[in-house]
Subunit: 413 residues, 2 copies
């Protein structure tokens, strides 16, 4: 435990506990964006922001923002934040740890009567997780003017996204891009095991991996499982199994490089899925993540070769890999990375550089400003599950790193 | 085309067409047991049986039976038949071809004024296909006193099986075993490609393969697909894919032996089946069919070894193979097989001996009498599908074989 951090771990614990209590009671911890529970969490956060001396507002995109004005008029804004919405049956720390740490920076500045030249804003982005409208990062995309207008008419749970943003306090008709933000920082739990395994306090994020989703359809022939000889059947499942193993093999090979890479067949559905019928159709959805775009492009190429090879070997008809979505990697700002390294050193935190395999609001903020992220460890790397856990002192150490980074950025920007 | 068969192909075509017309109009060809459409088919068949000079009745188990009395009192019964129910979206020939051929035997005997010493019964077994009550061969099991009493209280579509049998004209409270049946013969479409591929007219069935259903549960760990390194994840899908390929490999090896063998992973379901989560659980259901029990026992043993190997290699937790059901193979009567061979020769039919990979009412009848089956070709081996097709002349040739077999059995039994 590192002491004299200028941040208060107890206040962070209070934040976490209070938000954890605002959950659907029968499935902790669930506070889905656009739900009454989410708005209740927002109400609590608004009061908590105000108690920290922040001037609160909801922006046009539905993001809750708390402002601590700086002394240097026109110097622009340093923004810190994350998100308070959760996945269903989610955890208490994903997003929330980042809001609490950001808020603690504001509280620490207030306690110590430190005035910044820049305005400081603490943000709770609307709907970072994949929402009921099947899209994510709605608030951060809105803040940078990149929320597609056609999303607004999407319907779920008896409301449109337009109505959902309005209910959160936003004004979805207004499109704007913030131009005053000079830097954005986000603290987040790692959601993986790397820091814990290596006994690191902090991960300074180098890039947010690109995410590509690839669909492959394997078509065999539905024949009677008892009467169709093994030699003449075309079994979509056994063909698909070859693909699954090829994809795993390629994923492991790419992951041995210096840059982050992961490939997962996350969706796999089979038809007709009847005990006595030879499988006729399998749909695979590959989730591939790459820190380097070149890795992803080579991976897609090799998956195509695998498809051709399996089709030739099995007589199955296999569609060429289809890119359902394809987002390139987002490098974090190099100056911000150096600043975060120095902030870690200044508080004695053991850190490493690492890529983020998961997507974050930071990836969108990086389009308009110098953006960076730090990770803190989470137990067993578990996330998006009730057992997700981060130690309060780890969050507090992260908050101390953020505070030091903000003080440095305020001088250097 | 072989002429002078003593059977009338036109009457067979009329049977097939008339029953095909009794279908749920929006999903041909569907005539599910216990449905109003099934009872309508039964009504038509009852009249058709009577027109052939048969005395019709429904037995206690709900089977429609047409009797042509023999001259030799106490000589017992030769029974021929199959089933008129279909799977959903099924075909016009599975079961129906066998009823029509059996009925044509009775009509040919009547036309030619041939009197048998034995009683001849034509049977339409109730609910051969897996029914709405999730069980099959309800009528044939009933006829041999092997229908479990606990089935009667099963409910589906707002009725119990008890009520369903009653509505079909049966008396489910009565349990009995027929002891007068001296032989049973069934004609059926092959439901596989062997006869068509080899240009055979008839398959003389040596045995009905045993069917064993084996469940395997593979448990991995649900981790974030983006953040969990490839090297530390436990992916239930990639472990299950190894099993699928092992099962296919073993199935192909056993199938190269002289006896029929097939193994199919027909059901395969994955959890959580979410794009960005490492698969945590897969359930496989294997359908294995063996003409030789020893093959099945060795197969089960080797699947167990595969499970151990895959678990060790992948760190997945894999349940030992669990036998969900396990029915041994049923050999057909050797005298009946010889009689069917001779019947084929007498009408000039090109035949081969072969096992049945599918289950049939004959497997149950074999428990109480000398039983045998013949297969006729079906186009592309397709069955349980609307495109199922058999040529009328192939059914007629099969009926001629049945007629010759009946004449021989009547003398030798």
């Amino acid at each position: 435990m590192i002491s004299n951090l200028q941040v208060d771990a107890d206040r962070i614990a209070e934040d976490i506990d209070a938000l954890a209590a605002i959950t659907e009671p029968d499935r902790p911890w669930t506070r889905r964006a656009f739900s009454p529970m989410f708005l209740k969490g927002r109400e609590w956060l608004t009061n908590r922001f105000a108690a920290a001396g922040l001037t609160t507002r909801v922006d046009v995109s539905g993001n809750l923002i708390g402002l601590r004005s700086g002394t240097g008029a026109g110097r622009g804004t340093i923004m810190l934040g994350s998100h308070s919405d959760t996945v269903p049956d989610g955890g208490r720390f994903d997003g929330i740890a980042g809001i609490s740490a950001a808020l603690e920076v504001a509280r620490a500045l207030k306690d110590q009567n430190i005035e910044l030249a820049h305005d400081l804003e603490i943000v709770d982005f609307l709907a970072e997780e994949v929402s009921i409208f099947c899209v994510s990062c709605i608030g951060s995309r809105g803040l940078i003017g990149q929320r597609p207008d056609e999303w607004l008419t999407r319907e779920a749970n008896g409301m449109t996204l337009y109505e959902g943003i309005t209910e959160a306090g936003g004004h979805p008709d207004v499109a704007s891009i913030r131009t005053d933000i000079k830097a954005f920082l986000e603290l987040h739990i790692e959601q993986g095991p790397v820091l814990e395994t290596g006994d690191f306090d902090i991960g300074v994020v180098t890039a947010i991996a690109g995410i590509t989703r690839i669909e492959i359809i394997v078509e065999g022939r539905a024949d009677h499982a008892g009467t169709t000889p093994m030699a003449t059947r075309i079994d979509a499942l056994t063909a698909a199994a070859r693909l699954v193993l090829d994809i795993e093999h390629l994923g492991r090979e790419f992951a041995q490089g210096a840059a982050h890479f992961a490939a997962t067949v996350g969706e796999f559905t089979m038809e007709p899925n009847a005990a006595n019928v030879v499988p006729s159709r399998v749909r695979l959805l590959i989730d591939a993540r790459a820190e380097n775009r070149a890795d992803m492009e080579r991976f897609i190429e090799l998956i195509g070769e695998s498809v051709n090879w399996v089709a030739a070997e099995t007589d199955a008809t296999i569609s060429p890999p289809k890119l359902i979505s394809d987002n390139p990697p987002t490098p974090c700002d190099v100056d911000v990375q150096s600043c975060l390294d120095a902030a870690c050193d200044s508080v004695g935190a053991k850190y490493r550089r690492m890529a983020s395999g998961a997507g974050h609001d930071t990836a969108w903020m990086a389009r308009i400003t110098k953006a960076g992220m730090i990770f803190i460890p989470c137990r067993g790397g578990r996330s998006h599950a009730p057992e997700e856990f981060a130690e309060t002192e780890d969050i507090a150490l992260g908050a101390a790193v953020l505070l030091q980074a903000v003080l440095r950025l305020d001088q250097t920007l």
